[in-house]
């Protein structure tokens, strides 16, 4: 009788169907927002002194790393919650956040490399920021190597969580602290506060768009992870 009531409830049925998806108005807003960012980056944004026409890369390269950093920090937080509650959904969220964080960082690095080729004459210069982000990518790549080597789902979750909590210390260290003190080729106007207000506004808008994209991709990845857990019989 309880089951009949559940399946005939349209609100519960709709909620179940849309679990892990983004409401359509937000999808439309995200599409318009990022389209606007692309348009503004190419046709509206003023060029930065010294960067010239390559300025537009700034509005993709920098926000990708900002969102990547948030995702990797969330990996540590979700891992901590998993160790406290031992509920597998938190490990699923941690792995999803790590995947997306790594993806965003890799994309930012690729974009930066193309930019470096134009600005600094080589695809890779061992600049402190380039080197430290490479270390971060290797660190989180190792997180997935660790996870894939453990067959038992609870053990994978526990060991992965411990690793992620330790690794999260590296995120501010490698992305902000070390590059700040080791001067290299990267300029630092955002941190130093000398950035043009219009450029800062555009960066914030681009960051908001990429953050929205991350949220959408994260929800989808968690939904897929949940199906995988159900199939394995661990949820």
């Amino acid at each position: 009788m309880a089951t009949e009531i559940q399946t005939s409830d349209p609100a519960a049925s709709a909620a179940r169907t849309t679990r892990g998806t983004l409401p359509v108005p937000f999808q439309a807003l995200l599409f318009a927002w990022i389209s606007g960012v692309i348009y503004a980056a190419f046709f509206v944004a003023p060029p930065v002194k010294g960067l010239g026409p390559t300025t537009k890369v700034l509005y993709f390269h920098v926000p990708l790393f900002w969102v990547g950093a948030i995702a990797l920090i969330l990996t540590g937080i979700y891992s901590g919650i998993y160790l406290k509650t031992r509920r597998i959904e938190w490990d699923t969220k941690a792995a999803a956040a790590a995947e997306l964080g790594l993806l965003f960082c890799v994309l930012g690095t690729m974009m930066g490399s193309m930019w470096a080729r134009v600005q600094w004459g080589a695809w890779w210069n061992w600049d402190p920021k380039q080197t430290s982000i490479l270390m971060l990518i290797l660190l989180y790549g190792a997180y997935f190597v660790l996870r894939s080597s453990i067959e038992s789902r609870p053990s994978r979750a526990a060991l992965g969580a411990v690793y992620a909590i330790l690794a999260v210390v590296a995120v501010p260290l490698l992305m902000r602290i070390i590059p700040y003190y080791l001067k290299g080729l990267h300029p630092n106007p955002v941190v130093e506060g000398t950035i043009d207000p219009e450029i800062r506004r555009m960066l914030m808008a681009a960051w908001a768009g990429f953050l929205g994209l991350y949220v959408w991709m994260f929800r989808q990845r968690v939904a897929v992870g949940r199906f995988e857990d159900q199939k394995e019989g661990v949820e």
Partner: protein, 37 residues
């Protein structure tokens, strides 16, 4: 090719890339909804 702004070409390619990503995510949305049922 004379008179075509290279900036506009790159902007167009970037937009098409974004459109492709967006449509892919929409396709995933529908698959997730199907699996949820």
């Amino acid at each position: 090719m004379n008179g075509i702004d290279p900036n506009a070409i790159v902007a167009g390619v970037t937009f098409v890339l974004w459109l492709g990503i967006f449509l892919y995510l929409l396709r995933l949305e529908n698959k997730i909804k199907d699996l949820n049922r």
